[in-house]
Amino acid sequence: MKILVALLVVFSVTLPALADPEADRLAFAEFYLSRFPSIELQAHKDGAYALDQAKREQWLEMEDFPPYEIAVDEGELLYARAFDNGESYAACFDQGGLGIKQNYPYFDIERSEVITLEMALNLCREKHGEAPLDYAGELMGNLTAYMAYTSRGNKFAITVPPEGLSAYEAGKQFFYERRGQLNFACSSCHLQSAGGMLRAEILSASIGHATHWPTYRFKWEQIGGLHKRFIECNEQVGAEGLAQQSPAYRNLEYFLTYMNNGMTLNGPASRK
């Protein structure tokens, strides 16, 4: 009996604490504040350009003629176009879908899964008898660019209901797990080594990682979503990337965006 009680005590002490997203977020923010004492948290929404003046100036020049402008315009037209049944996207979203990106992704209790903005758009299409769009395609990029544009200046307000805690935890685990032959976690580069250099690149802070999607990248020569970047970051450490909008990536986005709560949306954006 005594042994049993002793065992229980030992195990109970080492039990992982129950998930507390808000405590996680505060510790996350605190980490970056002490890593970069002279940089305001909000400034990290510009990623690596918040950390290097020379790169920032180059980038600001680039932003004089924003390469995502066409995507926003095309997205606006697409968004307004009626489906065959006469309905349109606006019918599927609060506020007609304008200025709402700060609430995505969210945990859908009925479906018991994380719903990203991309997925919500395809669910809307399905509901109205339209074929889903390719998550990696240009149309999805344009639509989300427009929706992001109408949400500029809003602040992330992601919520995690009790039912969503395990999805949040799964995303958190993904973020901190080492992967690939090089054995790196997201956190190895974007937390532990944030501000450091990797080849010619400065490693950005994850506290700004959700604010500016979709993003036009000159390397991609197109506008792409956050999951496209996840794939690239997985692959560069020798891990296989997952499908865009796979459950694991949606959970990762959920965690990452919760960590970005309170950050101002500034999408779409451009990156090198």
């Binding site: 049993l4 992982p16 958190k172 797990e177 020798g238 891990a239």
Partner: protein, 118 residues
């Protein structure tokens, strides 16, 4: 005593399963064949490849597959097709090593990630 034990037994089970004791009951696709794959080093390239693919799928199921594994599997398959058994064997063994390492990583990381949370 009995009431206390039964009252805490669920707790204890949960606690133990967190430390992996409860996991031995569940068959994990990759690990179940780990021993087989090890023994396969002296086998033909086909056998090594067969066992390795199972390891690879186990890692993939855990979202922990490595690019190197699928690359070497493809190299081995191509060599087999071309009838180059020596090259097939070499690639299959490389694939096997990386598949084993990716699974070991997945298992280790299922707990180790907690140490990195600020």
């Amino acid at each position: 005593m009995i009431t206390i034990v039964s009252r805490y037994s669920l707790h204890l089970c949960l606690v133990l399963s967190l430390f992996g004791c409860g996991e031995s009951n569940s068959v994990k696709p990759g690990e179940a064949t780990l021993a087989k794959a090890d023994a396969a080093a002296s086998d033909s390239p086909e056998v090594i490849l067969f066992a390795t693919k199972s390891l690879y799928n186990g890692a993939k199921q855990k979202d922990h597959a490595w690019i190197a594994t699928s690359r070497e599997i493809a190299v081995a398959e191509k060599a087999l097709e071309a009838g180059d058994l020596a090259a097939a064997r070499q690639a299959a063994l490389r694939a096997q090593l990386t598949a084993q390492a990716s699974l070991a990583q997945a298992n280790l990381e299922s707990q180790a990630w907690r140490t990195r949370v600020p």
